[in-house]
Symmetry: C2
Subunit: 244 residues, 2 copies
């Protein structure tokens, strides 16, 4: 597909092209392609920009990352295919741990994603190094790294299904997600939900983390609080209004 | 994925599985997988059932099929992957012509889809038999069959992009579409728009055609009229309300 930057759908079409290329490189699964389409529809309803309710969530997420003892960012195929560079940069700035965990099990795909992250100068945990168990998710996903998710007190788990976020919460970890569907189980189960396109959100999370690192622990504790129900309500309303 | 019929997402997950299998058989393109995800999101907003505005559109479409001199139903990868059996049955009941036309050009995929249709007892036109040109779409799609779209006075072009519907209209053909996004260009450019999941709509189109064939030409002409703007407005409203 050849679209020029003045095309009204340029950003969306470029992201779709990036995801298709990542699929061809063995990073993104077929289920991930369909999930991306669902996200496209919700982002279209959002107007494809970062709203105030997302900025608030990003700020709270960033404060929690800075405050956490062992923050972990979960990387799946779509996260790697869309924002690997930004996620690696965030992991170095924060710093935070990256862990690869795939919905559709594949040792080959895990390896490809780890190599992508390492090629960008990052480090990724996988269950292979030393395995712990996360109860409540399908067997292929329940293997986690002792040094990654197994030690986490705050987890950012974007573009995940409801089971994963629910399991992380049940295991006692404070959990944030990035999800374009404000009605999803993940959006409701997470402590902090950023309703935004992950490609717009992650660079902003990085900016917020760099900025908030200068703040005192006391200030961070105030900023880390988040009115999730209010934000989800705002996200609904904004999609509904745009749609009218 | 193993889901049982009592799972709340059973129908949606089964369709997704059917589409993935059709992709693996070379029927559905990668772009088609992403497009299916977008449709899933809009169908979710619709409540995943056939609304009154879709029934009205289906009835008008069926009347136009019965009235037309040379009705043609355009089959692309997702149409073939999702509803090949029902489309072939409709083509025999009406009768109407089927023509394979793909957004992403591929002689191999065209052949696979033609064989699928023939295996189900249908006949499919392709540009290869005798080529006419449809101006206004990309070169790969502008080749049409003289005996199919090249002779059509009424075209059903479901799950299509805006360019295709626009080009069919400009070529003087009355055009209907099936599209889950009531804001899409296709939905607005077509004369008749069925805002519904194609897997629910096509069996109903078949029922309506069989029923309406018993009606007089004069009655059919009344039924064939359709308030498209009203129906699209209703579709918006229903998605918005459900979403609140």
């Amino acid at each position: 597909m050849h679209v020029t930057p003045d095309h009204p759908r340029y950003v969306s079409l470029s992201l779709r092209e990036r995801l298709i290329q990542a699929h061809e490189r063995g990073i993104v699964s077929i289920a991930g392609l369909i999930a991306h389409g669902r996200g496209e529809a919700f982002d279209y309803l959002l107007g494809e920009y970062t709203h105030g309710f997302a900025i608030d969530a990003i700020e709270a997420m960033a404060a929690n990352i800075v405050l956490a003892r062992h923050p972990v960012f979960v990387v799946n195929g779509n996260v790697a295919g869309l924002v690997a560079e930004d996620v690696v940069a965030l992991s170095r700035d924060a710093p935070l741990h990256l862990e690869v965990n795939l919905f559709t099990p594949s040792a080959g795909r895990t390896r490809t994603i780890v190599e992508l992250i390492e090629g960008l100068g990052g480090v990724a945990h996988t269950p292979e190094e030393d395995t712990a168990t996360l109860p409540g998710v399908s067997s292929s996903r329940s293997s986690i790294s002792v040094f990654g998710l197994g030690s986490a007190d705050f987890v950012v788990a974007p573009l995940q299904d409801g089971d994963m976020v629910h399991a992380l919460k049940k295991a006692g970890m404070k959990t944030a997600t990035i999800d374009l569907n404000p009605l999803s189980r993940s959006a409701h189960d997470a402590d902090i939900t950023v309703v935004d396109n992950i490609t717009r959100a992650v660079p902003l999370i990085r900016d917020a983390v760099r900025f908030l690192k200068k703040r005192s622990r006391k200030e961070l504790e105030v900023i880390s609080r988040f009115d999730k129900e209010g934000a989800l309500h705002e996200a609904h309303r904004s999609m509904t209004e745009r749609y009218r």
